[in-house]
Every structure is written in C-alpha cells, then in structure tokens.
C-alpha cells in the first residue's frame, strides 16, 4: 500500500465554549481528491487550519507522507508543500495581483537584500493567471479593484504557484459562477494527474459529486461517515450531514410566482463609476427575481446603487408607484429596501462584536427609543432569530467573527429579516451555507414572498438560480443582457446570455 499523503488521527480542538473538533480522523492518498462536507460549524475549516499549521490541535496527530509533522505556523506548512486556500479571502488588497501571487515567496536576487525579479515574476504571474482563466493583464491590477470572484481566483492561482503537495480548498467556489467553476475543475484534474492531493470543502453538493474521489462527512466535530466514489450522491451526503432527508429543497408554497404588481422599478438607472448603458428592470410582488451573470458582470454594483451606496447619476427608482430618492443606505432602509450584501465580512458584520450586537444593529430604532433600548425586546429578538435560523453559537454574546462561515451568513440574514422588508436584495444569499440551512432560508424567503415582499436574488449558484427564481435577468458586462422565464429559463440560456450571446 502506498503511503498516504495525509493522515490525521484523533484531531481535537477546543475553543472557549465550543468543542470544534472531537477526535476527527481523515486520510488522503497522493493524487486523490477528498471532499469534506458537513453542516455549518461541523469543524471543517478548523480541521483544515490544523493541517495547514494555522492552529495547533489540542490532541491528535498529523502525518504527511507517513511522517508526523507539527507546524508552528503557516510558513512551515507552506514550506512542506501544504497550501490552504482559506474560506475567507486573505489578500493584501493594497498590492497588485502579481504581488499577491508571490507574497511570501518572491523570486529574488541579491541574497539577503532580496531584490525582486520583476520580469520573471511577471511571466510566471501570467502563466498562473491563465491556469485559472484570468487574463494576463490583470497581473498589474490592484486587488482591491477586483470583484470578489476574481479575488477568489487569484487566491487559487496563488496556491498553484508553489511546490504544492497537498492543496486544501475551503469553499473555493462560493463566489464563482459556473464558468469559473468549470475552469477550476480542469485545474483540479491537472493537479490530480500530477499526483497532488486535494482536500476540497464545499456546500455545493453537485460540485462535490463532480470532483471528489471520496467524501468524508463531519458532524458536530466528529467523523460521521465516508462515501466512496460510487456512493457519492446528493441524498447520501445530505443524510450523513443532516441526519435526515430533506424534502422540498426549493419550496414554492407561499408564492404565486407571477403576475404581482411591480414593487420596485429601476428605469434608466446609471450610477457613478458604472456602465454607460442604463439599466431598467422591475421586481414584482410575490416573485423572486433571479439575477445571473459572470464574475464581475456588475450585479453587485447595480444592487449597491439601488441600496444607496453608489450614487445614481441618471434614472429613477420607483417604489410602489412613487418615485423615491435613495442617497444612502439610511434612505434605502427607511424605504424598506434591504440588502444582504455579498461580502459578509466587509459589509455584513461587525466581526469582533457579538451575534446579538449584529442582529440588533439595523433594528435599534425598533427596540425602544435611541436613548433607551429595551433590553427585554432585544433579547427576544436575538432568541427568535438565533433559533429560527439555527445559528450555531454558544450564546448571543459570542463574537460573530468566531462563528463558522455559514453561521456568520445566517446572522446577516437575521439582521434583515427582523425588519419588515418591502424589497429584499439578496446578493449571493447562501454563500457558505450548508444544505440544511439553505433549505430553511429558501423556505423563509418563500414565505416572505408570499407576504408580498419583492425579492431580488443575485446568485452565482446555477442550481439555486434555477431552483428558486420565478424570472431571471442576466447581466453581461454591466448591462442587462436579457430576461428569461418559464420554459425559456434553462441553464444553457442563462450561460449564453451571461457570456454575451443572444437570448434565443
């Protein structure tokens, strides 16, 4: 039997109030792709951080190629060929893409002086970017100017630039659309062929089925089972993860899906820094308007313009028949237009503050007066949403930054659902959310729509788009490329419009 690339036995990790890992064991062979799945907070990221030297385990052993290793920091792991692409972006956004690709392992000359070899790094950068399907010209762009999806691709390209033996990807596709995901599959296939081992975490079970040679399921910090290649099916995974079957994954119980009066109308909207062509669309009562597009198609920006973050330079917003002026999120929220932002760490949450703090923040006006908060009402609000969304947290006082990624996303939801929205803009609503919670969120959204709320759902997850939308608008290069509904709403049609083709 060939030695295993990675062997983790009995890993245990205790955080204050949370036993994140309780004796987890996994193995990965060389050239094998092992998918790790589990509900939010099951301990996947914690396990990966242990493997990559970010955390030291309280107990347990990590063996690399048969030899026990004990990394004292990420630097050690990188040297050993273990590369972790974190669930959350970790880029020096003030530097260029090329700088980030080689951060920590620059190609230098001059000995200890470490003078940068710009030329060689430029060439290598171009090659790396090509592997993830990004243009070479991007190498000199500042990372902060890229949309999240491209940042994610830069992270992946960066991992490829090293002598990697074990590549760990913690939800690499959560902000990628189908097209980039396909590209990623090709990258993974090539790595596998080179004998590189891959640990792959994802909540998109279809992806798991596509890439994984084997699946390990975690539940509550323990091993919950394993599936060999042939056993990998959606239902099998769900059963092991959640402990039951999920019915009605994409519910359509409360809404009619068609024919409601327009709630929010964008007519001829242009915003500062946006495309020249104005955007016109309407979101109707009782429907979910899906919005598709490639990474950087401008969906997020358009929604931010509506939410008052990006100033409008032309056009008009009409809410329930009356033109409204939204100059800031304050205005938007007052009008009942709410946004669940795409980047939860940057825009969605105050990470060091507690779950309760974050749930209350946009709702303080409803919890008594500004000068006198009603503690009891606030506690009730916390309890309601932690329970309803099943946020996995020791209590409401836990800093939200310490929750697992998916649980953080649920808190962002809770913030807004506690208000009564008229229009709810969901930008990548289930990024990092596990299947069980997804089902709950979908049910909730369905219920809201049933109550007359107009929902505008921007998503890069094709399954979600097709499953939940009543009508889909596709964006391409900042412009509305077309609209699809009913029978015309197919994956192929969406992709054609998104890549600049025509609707029919």
């Amino acid at each position: 039997m060939p030695t295993l690339r990675l062997e983790v036995t009995g890993a245990r990790k205790q955080f204050p109030g949370v036993l994140a890992l309780d004796g987890v064991s996994i193995t990965v062979g060389s050239g094998e792709v092992l998918a790790v799945v589990g509900e939010n907070g099951a301990g996947k990221s914690t396990l990966m951080k242990i493997v990559a030297g970010v955390y030291t385990p309280d107990a347990g052993e990590v063996k690399l190629d048969g030899r026990p290793v004990r990394f004292t920091g990420p630097g050690d792991a990188i040297v050993a060929g273990v590369i972790l692409i974190h669930q959350e972006l970790n880029l020096a956004e003030n530097l260029t893409v090329a700088d980030n690709l080689f951060l920590g392992r620059e190609d230098t000359r001059g000995g200890a002086l470490r003078v940068l070899n710009r030329r060689t790094m430029g060439d290598r950068a171009a090659a790396l970017l090509a592997r993830v399907g990004l243009p070479a010209a991007l190498a000199s762009a500042r990372v902060e100017n890229l949309p999240p999806g491209e940042k994610q691709l830069v992270e992946i390209a960066r991992a490829l630039g090293t002598e990697v033996r074990l590549l760990i990807m913690d939800e690499p596709t959560s902000s990628l659309t189908q097209k980039e995901t396909e590209q990623l599959y090709r990258v993974i296939d090539a790595l596998r062929a080179d004998g590189v081992s891959v640990l792959y975490i994802s909540h998109r079970l279809a992806e798991v089925k596509r890439v994984a040679d084997r699946v390990t399921v975690l539940r509550d910090g323990r091993n919950a089972g394993e599936l060999a290649k042939a056993e990998i099916t959606h239902d099998n995974m769900v059963r092991l993860m959640v402990g039951r079957d999920l019915t009605q994954f994409y519910p359509k119980v409360h809404r009619t899906g068609t024919g409601g009066a327009p709630v929010l109308k964008l007519s001829g909207v242009r915003y500062r820094g946006g495309p020249e062509t104005p955007a016109t669309l309407e979101i109707r009562a009782g429907e979910i308007l899906g919005m598709a597009g490639l990474v950087g198609a401008g969906r997020t920006e358009l929604s931010e313009a509506v939410f008052g973050v990006r100033p409008l330079v032309a056009g008009e917003l009409v809410l329930n028949g009356t033109p409204i002026r939204i100059a800031s999120p304050v205005d938007a929220i007052a009008a009942g237009v709410l946004l669940v932002p795409e980047d939860r760490r940057l825009h969605g949450l105050v990470l060091p503050e507690s779950v309760g703090f974050n749930l209350s923040l946009p709702n303080l006006d409803k919890l008594g007066s500004l000068l006198g908060l009603k503690r009891r009402a606030e506690t009730a609000l916390h309890r309601t949403w932690i329970d309803r969304l099943r946020v996995r947290t020791p209590n409401a006082a836990q800093p939200v930054g310490l929750l697992s990624g998916g649980n953080q996303q649920k808190v962002v939801y809770g913030k807004w659902l506690a208000r009564d929205p008229k229009v709810l803009i969901l930008d990548e609503p289930t990024r990092g959310v596990d299947v069980g919670a997804k089902a709950e969120i979908y049910a909730l959204v369905d219920e809201l729509v049933g109550k007359g709320v107009a929902v505008w759902m921007i998503t890069s997850d094709m399954e979600e788009l097709l499953g939940m939308s009543d009508r889909v608008v596709v964006m391409h290069e900042g412009m509305v490329a077309g609209e699809l509904a009913g029978a015309k709403l197919t994956e192929e049609a969406v992709m054609r419009l998104a890549t600049g083709g025509t609707g029919t």
Partner: protein
C-alpha cells in the same frame, strides 16, 4: 471585565505605594487633591476615548483646552457674565468639534492631519485673543462678577473663595460625565453605532447607520468636553498663559483612554475603563513627588511604571483568553 483588571491593579498598586510613601500622602486632603486632578484629566479623557472608539483620533484637545481657557478669561474681561461666558466657551468647543468632524467626514481627510492642524490653529487663536489670563484681572475690571466666579469655582473645582480645596468637585463632575458617557455608550443606540463604526465602518454603513453624522456627534462631544476642561483649568489655576495652557493634554487624554482599555484600532472601550485609565497619571505623579525622587529620574520612572502596568495588563488579558 478583564479589560479593566489590569488598570485596576495598577491603580491599587500605585495608591498603596502612595499611602505607604508618607502619612500625609494618604490624608483625606491629599486624596481629594489627587482626585481633583484625576477629574480634570478624566473629563478630557472621556472625549478622547469616544473619538478613539469610533476609530478616530483628536490631537487638537490640548490646544482646545488652552484656547477655551483663554476665551473664557477674555470674555469675562470684556464684561460677559461668568455663567454666560462658560456657556459661550462650551459652544465654541462644540463648533470646533463640528469643524473637525465635518472636515473628517465630508472631505474625508485623515483625522490625524485635521486635528494636528487644529492643534496649531487653536493654539494660534489662543495667542491672538489673549496672552496671560488671570482671574484677579477679571474681578478687578468687573467686581460684580466676584460672586458668580466664586460660585462657579466652588461648584466646578471645589475651592472656596479663599482657594481652600473643600471637596473634589472635578472628580465628582468626572463621575457624572462618565455616567452620562457610560449610559450613551452602553445603553443607547448611539453607543452601538459608535462601536460598530469603530470596528467596521462599512458594515455600519450597510446596516443603515448614518456614519458621518455619528462621527461628527462624537467629535462635537470630544471638543465640548475639552472646552469644559479649559473652563476648569482657568477656574482652578486662576492664571494661565495662552502659550502653554493645556499643551500636551491630548497625549495624556489618549494615554488615559488607552490605559483604560480603548484600542486605537477603534471599537473598544468602556466608560469605567476611561475613568480608571485617566486616574493613573495623577496618582503616579503625586507618588513620584511624595517619594522625593530626583528630577532627572522622574520621566524614566513614569515611563517604566506605565510600561510595566501595560505589560501586566496584557498578561492578565492573555491568561483570560485561552487561544491566540
């Protein structure tokens, strides 16, 4: 809680050392005196701390204190009644804060730069409107103010008309103001907004917080408290010079805030911590005086004591935090 354990320990140690140093050091009279100094520092510390909580900084505090003190004196010399003059001075403070806040939020200038410029400007204004200010000149010119000035001095600094210190009025004032700040910060929506802004301005904005307005409010509070500090300064010292009044106070105010658990990265700090933090330096200075230390070693002793306190504080905090 652990945020204040360190500074509390430091204070207890300093008070113990003070009382041990000399019987007179532990006398009620001396403790009242020290408390009064703490009050004076503390009031400006509150403002500095609020600004730090929203992730800003205010280097103009010292100059605003000085300028306010000068303005207070000059107004009274010009015949404005002491109560009215104090009111105008607070209004002056509020407008300084408004200007700082607007420059920082509307023009999006760096707080450090804006308030450093303010440090120059208000020092300059102080010099332009007056030189040496003293209360005797005021009462000479306006004997009818004597009563009001004595009342004001008694209520705000605890000194009777003979200059005898009766009670620690400035400390009492600090406690009242700290209670107000504590209420704002810990019990109202404003406090939530301020912490949110300090930690993550964008998230606050996306949550519908009017970030700019809240920032301006905080700068206004800070400068108003600094102006109050100026009024206290003149009332307590009865003579000041426009060149130096309040100088470096911004550093001490920030020091107090940071010792009390505020982080300059924003989003952290408690009202109790601010008070405790501001109490450190006056005890330390008194201790050093009572020990009769040689002039030359005093700055080093102060610096090392503060450093030691900071280290112990961090170690306590770290023990209570299990990981990372």
């Amino acid at each position: 809680m652990t945020r204040i354990l360190g500074v509390l320990g430091l204070l207890v140690a300093l008070y113990a050392a003070l009382i041990e140093s000399n019987p007179a050091a532990g006398s009620t009279r001396n403790l009242i005196y020290v408390a009064n100094n703490q009050g004076r520092y503390g009031i400006v510390t509150l403002g500095a701390a609020l600004v730090i909580i929203v992730g800003g900084i205010d280097l103009s505090i010292g100059s605003v204190v000085g300028c306010a003190a000068v303005l207070f004196g000059v107004l009274m010399e010009q015949g404005v009644h002491p109560f009215a003059a104090a009111g105008w001075v607070l209004l002056f403070g509020a407008s300084v804060g408004l200007v700082n806040g607007l420059l920082i939020t509307r023009l999006r200038l760096q707080a450090f730069l804006v308030t450093l410029c303010g440090m120059f400007v208000y020092r300059g204004v102080a010099r332009m409107i007056g030189g040496a200010i003293n209360l005797p000149s005021v009462t000479d010119a306006h004997p009818e103010f004597t009563g009001a000035l004595n009342t004001l001095a008694y209520v705000m600094t605890g000194k009777n008309e003979k200059g005898v210190l009766i009670f620690p009025a400035m400390f009492a004032l600090l406690l009242v103001l700290a209670a107000v700040v504590g209420f704002l910060v810990h019990r109202t929506a404003y406090g939530r907004y301020w912490y949110a802004i300090g930690h993550n301005e964008l998230a606050a904005k996306y949550a519908g917080v009017n970030v700019n307005r809240q920032r301006v409010i905080v700068y206004v509070i800070c400068s108003t408290l600094a102006a109050l500090g100026g009024v206290l300064l003149l009332l307590n010292d009865s003579t000041i010079s426009s060149d130096t009044a309040g100088a470096s106070l911004e550093l001490y105010a920030i020091l107090g805030a940071v010792l009390g658990g505020c982080s300059l990265r924003g989003g952290e700090g408690t009202a109790l911590g601010m008070v405790l933090g501001a109490m450190v330096l006056p005890v330390l200075e008194t201790l050093v005086s009572f020990r009769g230390l040689k002039n030359d070693v005093i700055p080093a002793v102060i610096g090392l004591t503060l450093l030691l306190g900071t280290i112990v504080d961090e170690l306590i905090r770290r023990r209570s935090r299990v990981h990372r």
